[in-house]
Amino acid sequence: MGLNFILTIISYILIGIGAFCQVVAGIGMNRFPNFFVRLHAATICAVGGSFVPIIGCSILALTLEEFGPSRFFLAGAGFVTAIFILLLAPVGSHLLAKAAYFSKAAVLHPKAADLLEEDIKKGEVRESTV
């Protein structure tokens, strides 16, 4: 019952949360009606399903005593990958959503309200400044 045991348990719990989030994001990716709602599933996949288990794997790599000093390399590279994914995935999703909205590549079929379109029609917001 040392520190290693607790860290191992925490890392397995994090990897399990990642598996759960991946399955939820996969179901959402197939069941959601249009592209702009599927972005939500993609962000669950990126942050919940990829950031969390990579952090878990880094903590798990830190506990492997028999692995020698290269376990620090493994853990550090894992942390760097996780932080890259946490920073770059929402930026990429936002870019893709903006491009799909303004190029009208994605159909907005079950539409409740589109406030941006109304604002552009009224002239309060121009397309180049959004």
Binding site: I15, V23, G26, C45, S50, I85, L95
Partner: protein, 83 residues
């Protein structure tokens, strides 16, 4: 290691969406998710197989997914891939 089948089920669902996707951004989004699952797999297997060579691919893969997003959004807006 007991969590790998859940990830594989998610991979199957993303592949279904990537093949079926009605528009281009849907396919790009599904391929992004496939890339994130692959990066997670690389990290998990590098810890499981105790091989630090594999994890260097995961960083590059995360950056490539971002590059795919940027280039696809630029292509969708301007219909070209830059200068």
């Amino acid at each position: 290691m007991y969590f790998i089948p859940f990830y594989l089920v998610a991979v199957i669902m993303y592949v279904v969406r990537a093949l079926k996707g009605p528009t281009i951004p849907d396919r790009v989004l599904a391929i992004d998710c496939l890339g994130y699952v692959l990066a997670t797999f690389l990290v998990i297997f590098s810890v499981y197989l105790k091989s630090p060579l594999i994890i260097a691919c995961a960083i590059v893969l995360a950056l490539w997914i971002y590059a795919l997003d940027v280039y696809m959004s630029k292509y969708l807006e301007k219909r070209e891939l830059g200068e």
